[in-house]
């Protein structure tokens, strides 16, 4: 089952900490989203493997934008 990681708020992706194919654990930090001049860690919603990363570093995203997919 695939889990989409959505942007919780509008902001800019400043760092991507995983690559496709990586195994991640629930609550592991996968991305950093800068919003309102504050770096916010984004955590994996479940255990699994990173299937796809849909954003690039430096990209501006709106709320609910799909950031990556974990399965």
């Amino acid at each position: 089952m695939a889990d989409e990681v959505l942007a919780p708020m509008p902001g800019k992706i400043t760092r991507i900490l995983v690559k496709p194919g990586d195994d991640v654990l629930e609550d592991e930090e996968v991305l950093v989203l800068e919003a309102m001049k504050m770096d916010n860690p984004i955590f994996a919603p479940s255990n699994g493997k990173v299937k796809e990363i849909r954003v690039k570093e430096g990209e501006e995203v709106d709320v609910d934008h799909v950031l990556l997919i974990i399965e």
């Binding site: 919780p8 919003a35 309102m36 001049k37 504050m38 860690p41 709106d62």
Partner: protein, 382 residues
């Protein structure tokens, strides 16, 4: 001849002699150095602490007369603090820097910005209880606005002798928000409440709304609380310039050059009010203590109010965002975000907290304005 030379040289040690006789000035020079240390070495509000600390040292060097009539610091003080001009100029800059978007997108968070001001009124009552005069109590309570320029404005108007203590309290507690708030937030909420996830639904805010907001607040607020119009009007002027998008040169000047120049002079003047005789009094400690209580009470009231909203909304509100309803922007909102994510890694409270925080920014100004107008109505101030 020799005697004349010795007398002349005696003039060079007169300062040391005067200082040796005045322990209070020595302590204040040490305090000035500590403020400089905190600003320079600890990076704690350096833009304020460096001029304040240096002003404090200057004014406590005996025989220099910097704060005497026509002295260097007195001239700046009379021009900008005595006239209440400096805090208002800073407010134009704050208005130009503040995006009220998050509060306009979620109008209910504005209420939290109002709830976070109750500490002002509770502290005012406590100050009266401690025997401060009504005008002094107003100035002490206003520390609870957690807003330096508001506190300086009100105090320089109604209790200028407390200016040093009140502004030091207001600015240091603002800087300490990340330390003061989290224990209160934890103590007042349950694990389940703290872990509540709030979805951020962006309601688009039109440019017209953003332009109308400062206008409506100025006219309505000014009619309700005319005594506070200088504060409200200056912050809203800055914001209108920002949102109008047509005077970017003026907006930039307000938030950069003007705010920087005024910050320098204002800091120096605050330092200049910290002469040993005026500052080293039991009163100062009580002011610092009450100011601390004021900010704690703001946090408590904000969280209680958010808990009320949680009940009414059927458990959708995370009460932590209530702590952001104070004016310390954006520190308070960041504290809420950091605390929230500690208890639930899927919880992002930042945007909600920013709404409450921006509400608190206006809220503190409105609270001060309302208080002044009520006091004027009661005939306590003219």
């Amino acid at each position: 001849m020799l005697e004349a030379i010795l007398n002349g040289l005696g003039g060079l040690v007169a300062g040391f002699q005067a200082l040796a006789l005045d322990w209070r000035s020595i302590i204040m020079i040490v305090i000035g150095c500590i403020l400089l240390f905190l600003g320079i070495k600890k990076d704690c509000e350096p833009l304020l602490l460096v001029p304040i600390g240096f002003g404090c040292i200057l004014v406590n060097i005996p025989l220099s007369d910097l704060m005497a009539k026509e002295g260097f610091l007195r001239v700046i003080y009379d021009a900008g603090v005595d006239t209440e001009l400096f805090p208002l100029l800073i407010f134009i800059g704050i208005g130009a820097m503040t995006d009220f978007g998050p509060v306009l997108a979620q109008p209910s968070t504005f209420l939290l910005g109002a709830a976070g001001q109750f500490g002002i009124f509770l502290t005012l009552l406590m100050a009266l209880f401690f025997g401060f005069t009504k005008l002094e109590a107003v100035s002490i309570g206003i520390i609870g606005a957690c807003d330096g320029p508001t506190a300086i404005y009100v105090t320089s108007k109604y209790a200028p002798h407390l200016l040093g203590a009140v502004s030091v309290a207001a600015y240091s507690y603002m800087a300490l928000v990340p330390v003061i708030q989290p224990p209160i937030m934890r103590a007042m909420t349950t694990q389940a409440e703290r872990a509540t996830v709030m979805k951020y639904k962006a309601r688009p805010v039109s440019k017209t709304t953003k332009i109308l907001f400062p206008l409506v607040i100025t006219i309505l607020g000014g009619l309700i609380a005319p005594k506070g119009l200088p504060l409200l009007g200056s912050i809203m002027l800055g914001n209108l310039m920002r949102e109008s998008g047509v005077v970017s040169r003026l907006t930039k000047a307000s938030e950069n050059e003007i705010a920087n120049v005024v910050t320098l002079f204002l800091g120096l003047c605050i330092g200049a009010t910290m002469s040993g005789a005026a500052f080293l009094r039991p009163q100062t400690l009580i002011v610092l203590g009450l100011g601390f209580v004021a900010i704690c009470l703001d946090t408590v009231c904000g969280i209680l109010f958010a808990k009320g909203m949680r009940v009414l909304s059927g458990g959708k509100i995370n009460p932590l965002i209530g702590a952001a309803g104070i004016s310390a922007f954006p520190m308070a909102a960041r504290v809420v975000q950091r605390e929230g994510i500690k208890y639930n890694k899927k919880s992002y409270l930042l945007m909600h907290a920013m709404g409450a925080n921006a509400g608190g920014q206006v809220g503190s100004v409105i609270a001060a304005a309302v208080m002044l107008s009520v006091l004027a109505g009661m005939g306590i101030i003219s």
